[in-house]
Amino acid sequence: MIPVCPLSQLALGEAIRVEPEGDVPIAVFRTDDDEVYAIDDTCTHQDASLADGWLEGCEIECPLHGSRFDLRTGEVDALPATRPVRTHAVRVEDDMIYVALSDEEPNLPPGVRR
C-alpha cells in the first residue's frame, strides 16, 4: 500500500496525480458522492493526465479528446481511446488515503513507457 495524501486535503470532485516509484503515474479521485477511486492517470489513447480531466459521477472524461473512463472498472465508453485503464484498490484509514497498485500490465498510449 502506498500513502497518497490525507483525505481532508482532497476536496469533493477533485483529483490528485501521484507518481509511485517504479510504476506509471496514477490518479486518485474523490467523487462528489464522497467515494475515492484510483486508476492509471494516463489516457490509453494519447499521453494526457486524466487527473486534469472532467469528473462527473463515477466517470472521468479525458481533457484532450473526451473519452470517458469508469472509475470503478477502468472501462472506456467511446473513441478515440479503446483500451481500459487499470484500477487500483483504495483504502482510507485515519484520514489517510492508501492505494494498492494493480499487478496487471498497464495499457499505455504509444510512446509512453513504464
Binding site: 494516463t42 481533457p63 479528446h65
Partner: protein, 399 residues
C-alpha cells in the same frame, strides 16, 4: 442625425466643468481654414488608403477601450463570444466566478485560432489542432505529453489576456499592453458631453434589456460614420422623421448646443417614435429635466449612445476594411417592457430609419473618395467646424 454630439470626447474634463462652451469657438488650425466660413476636410485618400487604415487599427482601435460585447450575452461562466478588435480576434467570456475575461484567440502552441465560432458555451477552450486546452481563466489546463514537460508553465503558456471592464451593461476590452485609464477616456467622454456621469446613470443602462438589435454592413470608412454622427447640417435634408420629432435639429446648428443639452421633443410629440406617437414606459431614474429630451454621446473610437426617456440606443462600430464598417445597434428598454411583449416597432423604426438614411449618405461619400475631384478633400461649413477637431485627432493618432 445626432446633432448634439459636438462636445463629445474632444473636450477636456476641465472644459466640461465649465459646461457652457460652444463647439464653434474652438480654435481651428489656421492651415485648415479655407475662408471665413470654410475649413478643409481630410483628403479623399484618408478614407480609402489601406495603409492608413492599418495604422488606424494599430494606433486607435488596438490602443483604446472598445465596447465589445453585451454583458447579458455572456451571462454564464463559459458562455463566450468572439469579437474582432482592430486586427485582433478575441474570445470574451466569464470565468467560474462569473468575472468577465477576454483572451487573444490565438493558441500559445502554434498560433491556431482557438475559438473559430462566433459564440457558444464552453467549460474550457480547446485548440482543434493539437488539443492544447485552456480553462476559463485562460490557464493551460492540459496538452498532449504536458506531464512530460514540467518546464511548460501552465500560466506562462496560458492564453494571452486583454484588459476588461464592464460598464453600461457591456464588456469593454483593450488589447494594448497598457490600457489607458477607463475613467478618463470612456467615462470622461460621457462626462464631457453630458456634464457629469449622474446624467447617464439616471437611465440605469446596465439594467436595461435588449429589445432589438440590427446589424448594418456599411460600405464606408469608419471616420465618415463618426463625422456623420457629429453634425446635423444634413438632418433637415435626409431625416424628415427625426426632425419632426426634434424640430431644433432642422436648424443645422443643433450640433452647437451646450454641454449637457438635450434636444427637446416637438410640441405634440408624445414619444421618440417614427410618428411621434407615445413611447414605452419611462425609465424611472430619468429626471423631469431629462424627460422629453434626446441626448447623444460619442465615446471614441467606436460607440454612439442615444438617450431618450423610455429607451437607450447604443451603436458599436467595427471597422473591417477602409471602405467597410459593421455597425451593431442595440435598442434597450426596461426589462418589464421587453418581457411584456409590447410593440417596440414604432421606436425601433425611427432610429433604424435614421441609421439607414445616414449610412446611405456615408456610402455616397465613400464612392467618391478616390475621385480626383475629392483628392484634396472637401470643406466644412461653420456648423461642421468641430469635425475638424475629430479629423485632427484621428490624424494625430497615426502620425
Amino acid at each position: 442625425m445626432s446633432a448634439l454630439e459636438s462636445f463629445d470626447s474632444y473636450e477636456s474634463l476641465e472644459a466640461a466643468e465649465e459646461a457652457v462652451q460652444l463647439a464653434d469657438i474652438r480654435p481651428i488650425p489656421e492651415e485648415l481654414r479655407v475662408s471665413e466660413s470654410l475649413v478643409r476636410t481630410l483628403p479623399g485618400s484618408a478614407y480609402s488608403d489601406p495603409v492608413l487604415f492599418a495604422r488606424e487599427q494599430e494606433r486607435i482601435f488596438e490602443q483604446m477601450w472598445i465596447c465589445a460585447v453585451r454583458s447579458a450575452e455572456i451571462a454564464r461562466p463559459g458562455q463566450y463570444k468572439t469579437v474582432t478588435v482592430g486586427r485582433e480576434s478575441l474570445v470574451v467570456s466569464r470565468n467560474r466566478k462569473g468575472e468577465a475575461r477576454a483572451f487573444f484567440n490565438v493558441c500559445r502552441h502554434r498560433g491556431a485560432t482557438v475559438c473559430p465560432t462566433e459564440s457558444g458555451e464552453a467549460r474550457a477552450f480547446q485548440c482543434s489542432y493539437h488539443a492544447w486546452t485552456y480553462d476559463l481563466d485562460g490557464r493551460l489546463l492540459a496538452a498532449p505529453n504536458l506531464t512530460k514537460m514540467p518546464d511548460v508553465g501552465r500560466d506562462q503558456y496560458g492564453l494571452r489576456k486583454a484588459h476588461v471592464r464592464e460598464w453600461l451593461g457591456y464588456v469593454w476590452v483593450c488589447v494594448a499592453s497598457e490600457a489607458p485609464s477607463f475613467e478618463e477616456t470612456v467615462m470622461g467622454a460621457v462626462r464631457s458631453r453630458l456634464g457629469d456621469l449622474d446624467s447617464i446613470e439616471h437611465y440605469g443602462v446596465e439594467g436595461l434589456e435588449l429589445g432589438r438589435r440590427i446589424t448594418y454592413d456599411v460600405k464606408a470608412n469608419w471616420k465618415l460614420i463618426v463625422e456623420n454622427f457629429m453634425e446635423c447640417y444634413h438632418c433637415a435634408t435626409i431625416h424628415p422623421e427625426l426632425t419632426a420629432v426634434l424640430p431644433e435639429f432642422a436648424d443645422g446648428y443643433a450640433a452647437q448646443y451646450f454641454v449637457g443639452h438635450g434636444a427637446e421633443f416637438g410640441e405634440g410629440v408624445e414619444g421618440f417614435t417614427v410618428d411621434g406617437s407615445a413611447g414605452l414606459d419611462r425609465i424611472p431614474g430619468v429626471t423631469d429635466d431629462q424627460d422629453r429630451r434626446y441626448y447623444a454621446v460619442t465615446i471614441r473610437p467606436n460607440v454612439f449612445v442615444n438617450l431618450v426617456p423610455d429607451h437607450v440606443i447604443l451603436h458599436r462600430m467595427f471597422p473591417v476594411a477602409p471602405d467597410r464598417t459593421i455597425v451593431e445597434c442595440d435598442w434597450l428598454y426596461l426589462p418589464e417592457v421587453v418581457a411584456s411583449g409590447r410593440d417596440l416597432s414604432k421606436s425601433v423604426e425611427l432610429f433604424d430609419l435614421v441609421n439607414r438614411q445616414d449610412f446611405e449618405a456615408c456610402e455616397l461619400c465613400q464612392r467618391a473618395t478616390d475621385s480626383q475631384a475629392f483628392a484634396e478633400g472637401g470643406v466644412l461649413v461653420p456648423s461642421e467646424h468641430h469635425i475638424a477637431e475629430f479629423q485632427a485627432w484621428a490624424s494625430e493618432a497615426v502620425r
